[in-house]
């Protein structure tokens, strides 16, 4: 019966908990200049391209999109891209994080990018699709096994992507299931009759 509440503070704390230190050049941006030129994530005129926008560059969008697509791809249901996960995350980060939060989030993204790229001869950004998949797969195994560089940041980013996915309309209604008005309560039903996890 308890509904979790997402507050700005929770969101910030969740991200701040991951925050590292030091300079970064997150996807081509300078940490100390997180009030970076406006990105072009949304179509011109989209209200989400408001005053708060500015740090979501093409490179950043591309990285988040690629990672989202690998972690939650299209299968027999829409994946993260079709569900709009990168757009959701951009909205959240653009509008709900303050400047410091954005810097710290960028730090983590850079950390993940660098960790993914560490074992190959090409960076993640430069790698082809097959290599990227291998990089993420290796990182995922490492993150849930022995940990290591970038593991915590990777898991945080993964939680954001996956969490956003299962709260999109596609994630709720096409991958899992959700009913606006169940209309009845059936207390004990064979799982195979229900089918899949209730999204909520």
């Amino acid at each position: 019966m308890t509904q979790p509440q997402a507050s700005r503070r929770d969101m910030l704390q969740g991200l701040l908990a991951l925050a590292g230190t030091g300079a970064l050049a997150a996807c081509g941006q300078q940490t100390g200049q997180a009030d970076v030129p406006a990105g072009t994530l949304y179509p011109k005129g989209d209200p989400r391209n408001g005053a708060a926008s500015g740090f979501y560059t093409e490179e950043l969008r591309s990285f988040v999109s690629q990672l989202s697509d690998i972690i939650v791809p299209d299968t027999d249901s829409p994946g993260a891209l079709k569900a709009g996960v990168p757009e959701r995350l951009a909205m959240v980060h653009e509008n709900w994080l303050d400047r410091q939060g954005k810097i710290e989030w960028l730090t983590k993204v850079q950390e993940v990018h660098d960790a993914l790229s560490a074992d190959g001869d090409r960076s993640f950004a430069e790698a082809d699709a097959e290599a990227r998949l291998a990089m993420v797969k290796a990182m995922d195994e490492k993150a849930y096994d022995k940990g290591g560089n970038g593991a915590d940041a990777y898991r945080q980013l993964k939680r954001e992507i996956v969490g956003a996915y299962y709260t999109t309309e596609a994630g709720c209604t096409e991958e899992l299931q959700w009913l606006a008005t169940p209309g009845d309560w059936k207390a004990c039903v064979p799982l195979k009759e229900i089918g899949r996890t209730w999204a909520v």
Binding site: S7, V72, R159, L176, T181, P182, P190
Partner: protein, 564 residues
């Protein structure tokens, strides 16, 4: 000639009932609500989808401060924040060294919109407890006095539940129950086998598991099992003043409802020893006016109602009206919590449920029944539920593998939370601040409430038992308050009560057995203020029953010309 026959101050859980009963008996009634009007179509957010909620802006930093007390309750969310007061607009203070959590919603219907809907009768032993162990004063009524009124309000409100034949939790006029799920049935069987005196039942909740004709006539339909209740319910699937009692009052043509009307105080005529009117401040314009009536019911909630009488003090009554006993504001009670256990079970991997049941289980009190068997008096009950873990964003795997893992729900998690009786204590009280006022010029309350040794012993026992019960059923404990023990702050359970207790002696109680002030015969109080003890059950159903009873008694007197 008065403006109205009766004025009801407050439109929530109890005030709605009084308005309904008085107006159905033909009295011309004015309902004063300090908050704004509620239009379910506009103000409820129960229709929001998970993705709309996910994309709703979180609280701003300013709002975090504005709602700094309200926001910590489970029922508060970013999409229903407007149903809660802004703490910065409605301040109160606490005595040094004490804490008090006062959660409120100032709008038509009050907290009856956001309540947890758990509805339990008090038992004969609850009405006898004070007389038995000497804490507080004796209730001036017994269960048999109230039982017919429990029947009455249950039928109208619609309470789902199962008949169990328990002396400590009397049965009622129930709608069909919410069935326990597979895991709950197993835990119930294990507990009842190991401890035959303990029972686990389905929660008794104010949900229309079926809509009877009299519900349908008010536009209410069967509960749709959405579990969006704290945001309001456009179906009227659960009882609230907005869905049930206020529409019933309105359809009589006898009820006038005025919102945004903050009651400052009441006018008292020392000659007749009666209330003659209610002084009101328009919350928006600050304009003041007085409404007159022959009869006044205070239903503003336990702290606010007592505060109105304190703020009506005069030379003859320097400590507030109806306060010859000096009990006004004292005996401030709540229900204590702090006992919790959570366990994971590997049973029933192939079983699931359909619907989002807005209810859980209840374990009625099982200690100190038929005699003293603990090192504390009174007792506690548990609420809880079992449900399967949903999707998990932090599990190994990517791609199809990740999706496949989340397509099957996780293991069953069972949680139990104990709710204990708080003893009446004259030293736990609220007063009005001598100088500080809110922005409408009304003195702010000061709470001075503490829990004692009895509450602590009770919750330690409840902590231990909760974990033992879940373990006995085969669960692996993942949280026990035994390892993290601490009592909830007074007020935290949102069951504040006791500030104008009823009793037999005018020198030791504020109200008589009809919820009528000993000192002022046209003044009644039927919100939580009247409670002489707290029992351990959720109290709203008892407020409803006493409200209906008192309103009908007052109407009898009115019809006899007593207030003319």
């Amino acid at each position: 000639m008065t403006d109205f026959d009766a004025i009801v101050v407050g439109s929530g859980m109890s005030g709605g009932w009084v308005a309904k009963e008085l107006s159905e008996r033909g009295l011309k009634v004015l309902v004063l609500e300090r908050g704004r009007n509620i239009d379910p179509a506009e103000d409820y957010t129960d229709q929001k989808t998970p993705w709309e909620i996910a994309e709703t802006d979180p609280l701003t930093d300013e709002e975090e401060e504005e709602y700094h007390i309200q926001k910590s309750v489970y029922a508060f969310s970013k999409v229903n924040k407007k149903l809660w007061v802004k703490d910065t607009e409605h301040p109160y203070e606490t005595a040094p060294g004490t804490d008090y959590i006062w959660r409120r919603g100032y709008h038509l219907g009050g907290r009856s919109i956001m309540w947890a809907r758990q509805s339990y009768r008090f038992a004969p032993l609850d009405f006898e407890a004070n007389a038995q162990d000497g804490y507080g004063v004796d209730w001036p009524v017994r269960y048999d006095d109230i039982a017919p009124w429990y029947d009455y309000v249950e039928n109208f409100a619609g309470i789902s539940g199962s008949k169990e034949g328990l002396e400590q939790l009397p049965d009622g006029d129930f709608l069909p129950p919410f069935e326990l799920n597979c895991m709950e049935k197993k835990v119930k069987a294990a507990i009842e086998e190991r401890w035959p005196e303990r029972k686990m039942i389905t929660g008794r909740a104010a949900h229309l598991r079926e809509a009877r004709d009299h519900h349908k006539k008010l536009g209410r339909v069967q509960c749709q099992v959405r579990s969006r209740c704290e945001n309001g319910c456009v179906f009227g699937g659960y009882f609230s003043a907005v869905s049930a009692t206020l529409p019933a009052a309105r359809r009589t043509g006898n009820a006038t409802i005025v919102t945004d009307a903050i009651v400052h105080s009441v006018d008292y005529d020392p000659q007749t020893k009666r209330i003659t009117g209610v002084k009101v401040i328009d919350s928006n314009t600050m304009q003041r006016r007085t409404y007159t009536a022959k009869l006044v019911f205070l239903n503003a909630s336990a702290i606010a109602s007592a505060g109105i009488l304190m703020n009506s003090a005069d030379e003859e009554n320097p400590n507030g009206l109806a306060n010859r006993s000096d009990q006004l504001g004292r005996n401030l009670m709540d229900h204590v919590t702090g006992a919790r256990a959570q366990a994971v079970f590997n049973d029933f991997p192939d079983s699931y449920y359909f619907g989002r049941r807005p209810n859980g289980i209840y374990i009625p009190r099982y200690v100190n029944i038929g005699g003293q068997d603990q090192d504390f008096v009174r007792g506690f009950g548990y609420q809880g539920s079992a449900r399967r873990v949903g999707w998990n964003s932090d599990i190994p795997g990517i791609g199809q593998d990740l999706k496949e893992k989340n397509r099957d729900p996780g293991p069953w998690i069972f949680w139990l939370t104990g709710f204990g009786e708080v003893l009446p204590d004259e030293n736990s009280r609220m007063t009005l601040h001598p100088t500080k006022t809110d922005k409408w010029g009304v003195p702010i309350p000061v709470m001075d409430a503490r829990y004692g040794e009895n509450e602590e012993k009770m919750m330690r026992k409840a902590s231990k038992d909760a974990a033992e019960m879940l373990k006995a059923a085969g669960g692996r404990i993942i949280y026990s308050s035994e390892d993290d023990f601490g009592l909830s702050a007074p007020g935290n359970t949102i069951h504040e009560m006791g500030t104008a207790r009823m009793g037999r002696d005018p020198m030791t109680s504020v109200l008589n057995k009809w919820n009528q002030a000993h000192d002022i015969d046209n003044l009644f109080m039927t919100d939580g203020a009247f409670m002489t003890s707290s029992a351990c059950q959720n109290p709203s159903l008892t407020y409803m029953a006493f409200s209906a009873r008192a309103a009908n008694y007052a109407t009898d007197l009115f019809e006899q010309g007593v207030f003319s």
